[in-house]
């Protein structure tokens, strides 16, 4: 530990301490999640009330964004911008930095017993590259032409010919974000490989560390191809090359001029989805890791099938690299290759199901404590289940051709990331909050947040599945009104969207508003509890086994106050429930306290008592 205290700026802004960087990541990415949520609200308003001025914030919108938001209405171009930026912000600036930057940064070194990351300065650099990337992304709203409009996937030729500088900003920001996550993933992998404390063998790692380890590999190896793709698209936009511009391109009825042609839009899709699909597992694997930790702790029993979990995580890591083109069935790339990707895609569902099965079975026979993090973790299981099962039809070419580009897809992947990953993130925040701040979050507000979010999430995303099956396309800025039976020009047209399908937009919009409202108790709880919440009673308020709970609260610079050794597997809960008390002399617990767990660093043969605790309720 360094003897001298660094200055405030060095301590809280340009810090190399993994915990401070983790908190920086968390606050920044939560802010971006909030921005993404606001964009979603604006879009939902537009879809439910096409062409109507946005209430309350319409004027501010016009003031900020100018002509595209004229009279407070969201123009089609602006809607496209919001759509592209909602996806980009949520994925690249919100969820990934949250699950990988924040959680992994804070917890992985603690859980492997390290004093810090392997490369603390690179860690700081990684955060600031992320911040710069994020700022560039936000600034792009205010450049001529507005932000990127070609979707979060930025498909050329549209992305290249679109007359806005926002797309260039998007690409530059992506290069920053890719570099940031590259440094982050190198750091995580080296930390896990090199800095594990003695005794912490691979099969004794908490599953969360495993999930972040696999995630880091996905980021390390899958992001560079997309970076290559982004560089090529940047060349197309800035140097006038034709990497993605085919021969004979017709723009608005005119042959494109000034282009050599000879490129292929398919190339971008390959390079993009080579990242894009592993990215899905970057979003979900750490979530599974968080949920595993929370479930093990709150069921008070070892996780069911630890080895199967680890094997499945590794299998997902490998397989996720060979499934990418199932996003491209409708590009006309041929049946042979579609067949290949169809096969690998169905195979990858097996390890996912194994993980879900293990987590489900872990609940069985457990003495479940329904704490707020546990509620989120339990809700994660069926929510991710719906997300996964609705994905099955999309794995098959024939079904996918019909469902692709419909709202069904939107419903499907939002079930995976919104009530899936984001619920896991909330579980993680409620669970580790006492360690980070030394204070509990308020339980009542937590319940309110949970039940409100659960109901609203389902009211938002389940109707989308129906809308998609009812034929609604995913990128229409008027919510399908122009194709609906209600539109005057569609009178008597067979196959136009039914009123019910279009009117679901209203349900979704109100639910979205309610969802946003239910985040207010969380935001209040988060900041209030950080400063004035109930202080933790000891360093291990959840009575958890993993190493991060065996530190002072909050962990000091350098993390551990004594040398750490690991003696056992990560989830040693209730292993001695049926044994007589006082089996061995040295116990970490004070006399008479109920201890149904053994911390990983607790020497073998430590004591357990089986008396029911008087203070059991206080830890809920």
């Amino acid at each position: 530990m360094s003897s001298h205290e660094p200055g405030l700026i060095r301590k809280y802004i340009f810090s190399t301490d993994h915990k401070v960087i983790g908190i920086q990541y968390a606050l920044t990415s939560l802010a971006f999640l909030f921005i993404g949520l606001m964009l979603m609200l604006l879009m939902r308003w537009q879809l439910a009330n096409p062409g109507q001025p946005v209430p309350i914030v319409g004027g501010a919108l016009e003031g900020l964004l100018g002509e595209p938001a004229g009279e407070g209405k969201i123009s089609a171009d602006l809607y496209n911008s919001f759509g592209a930026m909602h996806g980009t912000i949520m994925i690249f600036l919100g969820v990934v930095p949250l699950v990988f930057g924040a959680f992994a940064n804070y917890l992985v070194p603690l859980q492997v017993g390290a004093a810090d990351m392997a490369f603390p300065k690179l860690n700081m650099l990684s955060y600031f590259l992320y911040l710069i990337g994020g700022v560039i992304m936000l600034v792009s709203f205010f450049v001529p032409g507005g932000a990127a409009q070609a979707g979060w996937t930025s498909y050329p030729p549209l992305a290249t010919i679109i007359p806005t500088d926002g797309q260039t900003y998007w690409l530059v920001a992506m290069v920053f974000l890719i570099t940031s996550s590259l440094l982050g993933s190198i750091n995580i992998i080296v930390t896990v490989m090199q800095l594990r404390v003695p005794g912490l063998t691979w099969m004794r790692l908490p599953f969360f560390v495993w999930s972040e380890f696999v995630t880091a590999f996905l980021l390390l190896l899958a992001f560079p191809p997309m970076e290559a793709g982004a560089i090529l698209q940047l060349m197309d936009r800035l140097a006038g090359t034709s990497f993605y511009m085919p021969h004979g391109l017709i723009l608005s009825g005119q042959p494109a001029t000034g282009l050599s042609g000879g490129g292929s839009p398919l190339l971008w899709q390959h390079l993009f989805w080579f990242l894009g699909h592993p990215e899905v597992y970057v979003l979900i694997l750490p979530a599974m890791g968080i949920v595993t930790e929370v479930i093990a702790n709150n069921t008070r029993k070892p996780i069911w099938g630890y080895r199967a979990l680890v094997g499945s995580a590794l299998a997902i890591g490998f397989l996720s690299m060979v499934v990418w083109a199932h996003h491209m069935y409708v590009t006309g790339m041929g049946t042979g290759i579609s067949m290949f990707f169809q096969t690998t895609t169905t195979i990858i569902s097996i390890p996912s199901v194994i993980i879900m099965t293990c987590l489900m079975l872990s609940l069985w026979g457990g003495a479940i404590r329904f704490t707020v993090p546990m509620l989120f973790a339990i809700a994660f299981l069926p929510m991710f289940g719906i997300g996964g099962l609705t994905g099955l039809p999309l794995a098959f070419t024939m079904a996918d051709v019909a469902l692709h580009d419909s709202y069904y897809i939107i419903g499907h992947f939002h079930y995976v990331v919104a009530p899936g990953t984001i619920f896991a993130v909330f579980a993680g925040i409620y669970y580790w909050f006492p360690k980070v701040t030394g204070r509990h979050m308020n339980r009542g507000l937590g319940y309110l947040h949970f039940w409100g979010s659960l109901v609203c999430m389902n009211l938002i995303f389940f109707p989308m599945l129906f809308q998609g099956l009812g034929g609604m396309g995913r990128r229409m800025s008027d919510g399908g009104y122009i194709y609906s039976a209600a539109h005057p020009s569609n009178e008597g047209v067979i196959g136009s969207l039914s009123d019910a399908v279009v009117q679901l937009n209203g349900v979704i919009a109100w639910s979205a508003l309610a969802l946003a409202a239910f985040q207010l108790p969380f935001i209040y709880n988060f900041f209030y509890s950080a400063f004035a919440g109930r202080p933790v009673e000891n360093d291990n308020p959840w009575q958890a086994t993993t190493l991060e709970w065996q530190t002072p609260t909050p962990p000091p610079h350098g993390n551990f106050t004594q040398e750490m050794f690991v003696y056992r597997e990560p989830y040693a809960y209730s292993l001695h429930a049926n044994e007589p008390a006082g089996r061995a002399p040295e116990s970490s617990a004070t006399a008479g306290e109920f201890v149904d767990f053994e911390a990983q660093n607790q020497p073998l043969g430590a004591a357990v008592t089986t008396e029911m605790p008087a203070n059991q309720a206080s830890i809920l």
């Binding site: 003695p198 691979w202 099969m203 390959h270 041929g334 003696y567």
Partner: protein, 130 residues
């Protein structure tokens, strides 16, 4: 590696606690380093020969394009292997690095093969390989 086991005392094949600090590797002997330098010079000579061969191949010309490609890539692969094993010290048995490179190679090969494969279903392409 230990099992997750419900037994009261978890089996631990590892003697605990092991020594915390492994002494830094001592400076290699002078003789060893001179051998190393000889290897470097040998690799250098190989690389120059390889480059000369590659350029010569350009002026020789084979019947079909695939022959040219194959020869050029084989020479390049040999050169690359020399650089990787000797200059980058891969021959020194670094198991974790081998594993990493194996994964990376597999992923790169899949990306390459599947991306290229997808183009053959497009009309009017692939005349180079016909």
């Amino acid at each position: 590696m230990s099992e997750i086991s419900p037994s009261p005392i978890s089996p631990s094949p590892i003697a605990l606690p092991p020594a915390l600090s492994i002494p830094a590797a001592p400076h290699a002997g002078v003789q060893q380093i001179q051998n190393e330098q000889k290897r470097y010079l040998a690799v250098y000579a190989t690389l120059i020969c390889g480059t000369a061969l590659t350029v010569a191949m350009y002026y020789v010309h084979f019947e079909a394009l695939w022959q040219t490609v194959a020869v050029a890539l084989v020479i390049a692969a040999v050169k690359a292997a020399c650089v990787a094993t000797i200059f980058m010290h891969l021959w020194q048995g670094q198991r974790d690095v081998y594993r990493l490179l194996l994964f990376t190679g597999a992923f790169a090969a899949t990306m390459f093969a599947l991306t290229i494969y997808s183009i053959f279903s497009l009309p009017g392409t692939g005349h180079y390989l016909r």
